[in-house]
C-alpha cells in the first residue's frame, strides 16, 4: 500500500502587507483590499510532503483547503508544485468557527482520506494561533510533531524529523500515522513546474465550471485529478452543533480599533543640531551613559 499524505493549506489575507489603502476611512480594515495568498508556513508544509514523496515515490499527496470558493486557487497552486489531488472544503455553515470548530471540520475532512501522514504549517498569518494543527491531531487521535524544520528520514512505517525550538533543535522519531506542523524555517517550497501548470490550469471546482462554456465531462473522466471536489458539511458528515459560532467556545466580546494615545513627543529633523540636542538630553537624563 502506498503512503497517503494530506497537506492542509489555507488561503489568507496578506496581513504582512497592510498598506494605507487597506484601511477604510473609519480606521477599520478593508479586507477586500488585501491580496489573498497561500499561507507561508503551509508552503513549507507542502515542500516537506513533496520531499517525502521523493523518498517514497508511491506516496500520494492530497491537498485540503477550507475556505470560500476562491480558495480553490490554493489547491491549483499545490497541484502546480507537485500535489496529486486536491479538495475544497467550503460551506457557509463554517463561518464564525474558532480554532476548535475549524479543527473539527478539518479533522472530519481528513478522515475521508485515511492518511498516514498529515502536514500543515505551524500557524496561519491571519490568526497566528498555531492551534489548529495540534487540535486536528487530537481529534484524529494521531500523535503530533510540531515546529518541524527538516525531514531526516522516512519509511512507510516511521519518520524522523528535526524540530526548531526557542533555544535549540531536537531530533524526534515517530511511528505513522502522524500529524506534522512545519515551521517557517523549513526549506522553502519549490517553484511551480511549467508542465504541471499547463496540465492543472484545467483543474476546477464544480462551482467554477458553471461559469465556463467548455464541457469538462470527458476530460474529467480521463483525468480525475483535474476535478477539484467541493466538500460541504454533508460530505464530511459533520455535526452542525460543532461548527460555526455555535460550535466555538471562544466568543469575541468586543473588538477595538486601535487608537493611539498621542504622547508628548518631540518632533525633530535629521539635522546635526537636532540629533546633537537629542543625544545631549539623553545623556543629561542618564538614559545613555
Amino acid at each position: 500500500m502506498s503512503l497517503k499524505i494530506v497537506v492542509l493549506a489555507k488561503q489568507v489575507p496578506d496581513t504582512r502587507n497592510v498598506g494605507k489603502d487597506a484601511m477604510k476611512e473609519d480606521g477599520t480594515v478593508n479586507r477586500a483590499a488585501l491580496p489573498a495568498i497561500f499561507n507561508p508556513d503551509d508552503l513549507n508544509a507542502l515542500e516537506m510532503a513533496l520531499q517525502v514523496k521523493e523518498a517514497l515515490p508511491d506516496a500520494e499527496i492530497l491537498v485540503i483547503t477550507m475556505g470560500p470558493p476562491r480558495a480553490a486557487d490554493i489547491v491549483r497552486e499545490s497541484l502546480y508544485r507537485g500535489a496529486d489531488r486536491g479538495f475544497l472544503l467550503t460551506d457557509a455553515k463554517f463561518a464564525g468557527s474558532d480554532t476548535l470548530a475549524t479543527s473539527y471540520a478539518l479533522s472530519k475532512a481528513v478522515m475521508r482520506c485515511q492518511p498516514d501522514l498529515i502536514f500543515c504549517g505551524v500557524q496561519a498569518i491571519d490568526g497566528d494561533t498555531a492551534q489548529v494543527g495540534p487540535q486536528i491531531a487530537e481529534k484524529l487521535n494521531f500523535p503530533q510533531i510540531t515546529y518541524a524544520e527538516a525531514l531526516i528520514a522516512v519509511s512507510s512505517k516511521k519518520i524522523s524529523l528535526k524540530r526548531r525550538l526557542e533555544h535549540g533543535v531536537e531530533t524526534v522519531e515517530a511511528a505513522l500515522p502522524l500529524l506534522v506542523t512545519v515551521h517557517s524555517s523549513a526549506p522553502a517550497c519549490r517553484a511551480r513546474n511549467a508542465r504541471r501548470v499547463m496540465q492543472f490550469k484545467h483543474a476546477h471546482t464544480p462551482s467554477e465550471l458553471t461559469g465556463i462554456a467548455r464541457d469538462y465531462t470527458q476530460i474529467y473522466r480521463q483525468h480525475p485529478c483535474l476535478n477539484i471536489e467541493e466538500w460541504n458539511v454533508q460530505t464530511i458528515e459533520a455535526d452542525l452543533a460543532k461548527l460555526g459560532l455555535s460550535g466555538s467556545p471562544t466568543k469575541v466580546k468586543k473588538v477595538d480599533n486601535v487608537v493611539l494615545v498621542q504622547k508628548e513627543s518631540k518632533q525633530m529633523s535629521d539635522s546635526d543640531a537636532d540629533v546633537e540636542l537629542m543625544i545631549t538630553e539623553l545623556m543629561e537624563n542618564h538614559i545613555i551613559g
Binding site: 504582512r16 476548535l100 494561533t129 500523535p143 510540531t146 524522523s160 531530533t171 515517530a174 471562544t250 473588538v255
Partner: protein
C-alpha cells in the same frame, strides 16, 4: 475546583522557566481577585529545585509528577496527564506559556476537553460578560485580550460556557514578581497510571540546546530595525550603534521575514516583549503587534522618513529622516559627548 492553574515548564537546568514564573505572578493576582486558589502543575524529572522555587509565588497547591518519561517535554505524556488532571480538578482558568511547549500542549488539551483557548494574549483581565439577547450575565470571566487581524484591531475573547478558560501568554508579557514571603504549597502527586504505551509513540533521539545568544530581555538599550531599513547591509549598521551604546539589536517581524536578521531578535506579539530604558526604532512603522512588544520602554526614539507612522505617536523623540543619514550622526555625537 474553580481555581486558577498555571502549567509550569521545567527548563534544561531543572528550574522553572521564567515564562511560567511570570504567569504564576499574574495568576496570583487573578486568583485573589476571584477569591480562589492558585495552583501549579509541574511535570518533569528531578523536580526538587523547581518545587523549591514555587514557594516564592504564593502557590496554594502544586500538582507534580517526577518521572523520566516527563523530561524532556513530549506532547503525548504531558497531554494525557494534563487532560486527566483538568477533568479531575475542574479548574476555572488554565494558563500556559506561549512557548514551543505551551503552544504544542495547550491546543491538544483544549481539543480533548472541548474548551476555548486563546493564543498569545497580551493582557488578561477579569470582568463580566452580558449577552443581551438571552438576558444572561456571566460574572468574573477571563478577558483574553490580543491583537488580531494583522494587528489592526484588539480583540477581547471570552469563554462563557467551557471550563477551564484557557489562554497562552508569551514570555515577558507579564511581570515576574515573587511574593514578599515564602509559603509551603500543598504537594499533590499526579498519578501516572493513565500513561499508556501509546504515549511513547514519539521518541526524542537527540537534543541540541544552546543558551540564548542574544539577550534582548536583559538589555537596557535596544536598537531595533524594521522593514524600512531596506536591506540587510543597512540593517547590519545598527550593530555599530548598539555596541557603542552597550545595547542589543532587535527587529520587527517584517525585518526578520525579509532575512535582515534571525528570529531570536524579533520583538512583538509573536516575538519577545522588552522593557528597556531606551528603544531606538529605526525604519519601524509600528504595527500593534510590534508595539505590544516594546511600548513599555521608558524612552522611545523613532527614526523614519515618514513623520506620520503610528510608532511616532508613542515616541518621545520622532526624527524625520533617513536612518542611513541619522545613524552616523547619532554615533558621532554620542562619541563627542561621552567621556
Amino acid at each position: 475546583m474553580n481555581n486558577v492553574i498555571i502549567y509550569c515548564e521545567q527548563n534544561e537546568s531543572g528550574k522553572i522557566a521564567d515564562v511560567s514564573l511570570e504567569l504564576l505572578s499574574k495568576g496570583r493576582k487573578i486568583a485573589s481577585q476571584l477569591g480562589s486558589k492558585l495552583e501549579a502543575v509541574l511535570l518533569g524529572h528531578g523536580l526538587a529545585t523547581a518545587i523549591e522555587q514555587l514557594s516564592w509565588f504564593g502557590v496554594d497547591t502544586v500538582h507534580a509528577a517526577d518521572d523520566r518519561r516527563l523530561f524532556p517535554y513530549r506532547t503525548l505524556p504531558h497531554a494525557t496527564l494534563i487532560t486527566e488532571l483538568f477533568r479531575r480538578e475542574t479548574p476555572e482558568i488554565a494558563i500556559f506559556g506561549a512557548t514551543s511547549v505551551g503552544r504544542d500542549l495547550a491546543p491538544r488539551v483544549a481539543s480533548a476537553l472541548r474548551c476555548g483557548l486563546t493564543a498569545d494574549c497580551t493582557s488578561l483581565e477579569i470582568g463580566n460578560h452580558r449577552i443581551e439577547k438571552q438576558g444572561i450575565t456571566y460574572e468574573n470571566l477571563l478577558y483574553q485580550i490580543r491583537p488580531a487581524f494583522g494587528g489592526n484591531i484588539i480583540a477581547t475573547i471570552v469563554n462563557p460556557e467551557t471550563r477551564p478558560q484557557m489562554a497562552t501568554v508569551r514570555e515577558g508579557v507579564m511581570k515576574l514578581e515573587p511574593a514578599e514571603k515564602s509559603n509551603t504549597p500543598v504537594l499533590k502527586t499526579v498519578p501516572l497510571d493513565t500513561l499508556s504505551p501509546l504515549d511513547e509513540l514519539v521518541q526524542i533521539i537527540d537534543r541540541q540546546m544552546e543558551a540564548p545568544k542574544v539577550n534582548l530581555k536583559g538589555s537596557q538599550i535596544i536598537v531595533a530595525g524594521g522593514y524600512g531599513m531596506g536591506n540587510k547591509a543597512n540593517f547590519d549598521q545598527l550593530f555599530h550603534l548598539a555596541t557603542l551604546l552597550g545595547g542589543e539589536v532587535g527587529a520587527t517581524r517584517a525585518a526578520v521575514d525579509a532575512g535582515f536578521c534571525g528570529h531570536e531578535r524579533q520583538i512583538g506579539q509573536t516575538g519577545l516583549t522588552v522593557r528597556p530604558k531606551l528603544y531606538i526604532a529605526c525604519g519601524i512603522s509600528g504595527s500593534v503587534q510590534h508595539r505590544a512588544g516594546m511600548d513599555q520602554s521608558a524612552k522611545i526614539i523613532s527614526i523614519n522618513t515618514d513623520a506620520g507612522v503610528p510608532l511616532n505617536a508613542i515616541a518621545d523623540y520622532a526624527i524625520q529622516g533617513d536612518i542611513m543619514t541619522v545613524l552616523p550622526k547619532l554615533i558621532a555625537y554620542y562619541k563627542k559627548h561621552s567621556k
